[in-house]
């Protein structure tokens, strides 16, 4: 089954605004990871949040996890044009050999 469904599929904001992207999944997880992908490039690891954690921060990034709703959100504060990229969440399930299951991603465009 498809896990890690992100929404919105596309988001366009102005520089300086905050961007929020959401991710939902269907079955219980071990951890959830967020990645950024610039056009035509590899994936950059942003944050990992474990199933027993509710919130994590890294610089301008804030990730929350609600296991009761099977959802996560990624907040980018004070966005910059350089934040323009696709953002993916990926889930890891117990006993899965750390395999990641990806959604289709959110394309974020930050306009200068």
């Amino acid at each position: 089954s498809q896990q890690g469904e992100e929404d919105p599929q596309a988001l366009s904001i102005q520089e300086g605004e905050n961007a929020t992207m959401n991710c939902s999944y269907k079955t219980s997880i071990n951890n959830l990871q967020w990645y950024r992908q610039n056009s035509g490039r590899g994936l950059v690891h942003l944050i990992l949040i474990r199933s027993n954690e509710r919130e994590k921060h890294s610089g301008r990034l804030r990730v929350t996890l609600d296991t009761s709703k099977k959802s996560s959100s990624l907040l980018i504060t004070a966005s910059r044009a350089a934040d323009t990229a696709s953002y993916f969440c990926a889930t890891v399930h117990g006993g899965s050999n750390y395999k990641l299951t990806f959604g289709k991603g959110t394309l974020l465009t930050v306009n200068p």
């Binding site: 951890n31 590899g42 994936l43 990926a90 050999n97 395999k99 990641l100 959604g103």
Partner: protein, 116 residues
């Protein structure tokens, strides 16, 4: 520090030709290794993963195969490419530790394959 390399960066191949993509990891021992494919405008689909030398698990039936001849080397191959094999191929690893594995999965720069 841990690094991951993939080559080539881009590849254009005719239908029916063979394929060999290579991935190597540095700075860790006993990593888990993964091959993903990304179709245009889509998320990533896991193709193969390996938990040790010579150990390969396939996630989807397909025209491709994988091998792990050394601890930090992962190879994706095909004997005869199909048009549908076009895509962006990404190798990834989860680093090993003395007691097991870390959780974060890190990706290489990818290979863009076009089959004509």
């Amino acid at each position: 520090s841990q690094t991951i390399h993939q080559w080539p960066a881009t590849l254009v191949q005719p239908v029916g030709s063979p394929l060999s993509l290579e991935c190597t990891v540095e700075g860790t021992s006993n990593p888990n290794l993964y091959w993903y494919r990304q179709a245009a405008g889509r998320g990533l689909q896991l193709l193969f993963y390996s938990v040790g030398i010579g150990q390969i698990s396939s996630e989807v039936p397909q025209n491709l195969s994988a091998s792990r001849p050394q601890d930090r080397q992962f190879i994706l191959s095909s004997k005869k490419l199909l048009l549908s094999d076009s895509g962006f191929y990404l190798c990834a690893f989860v680093a090993g530790t003395s007691g097991g594995l870390y959780n974060e999965q890190f990706f290489g720069p990818g290979t863009r394959l076009t089959v004509l």
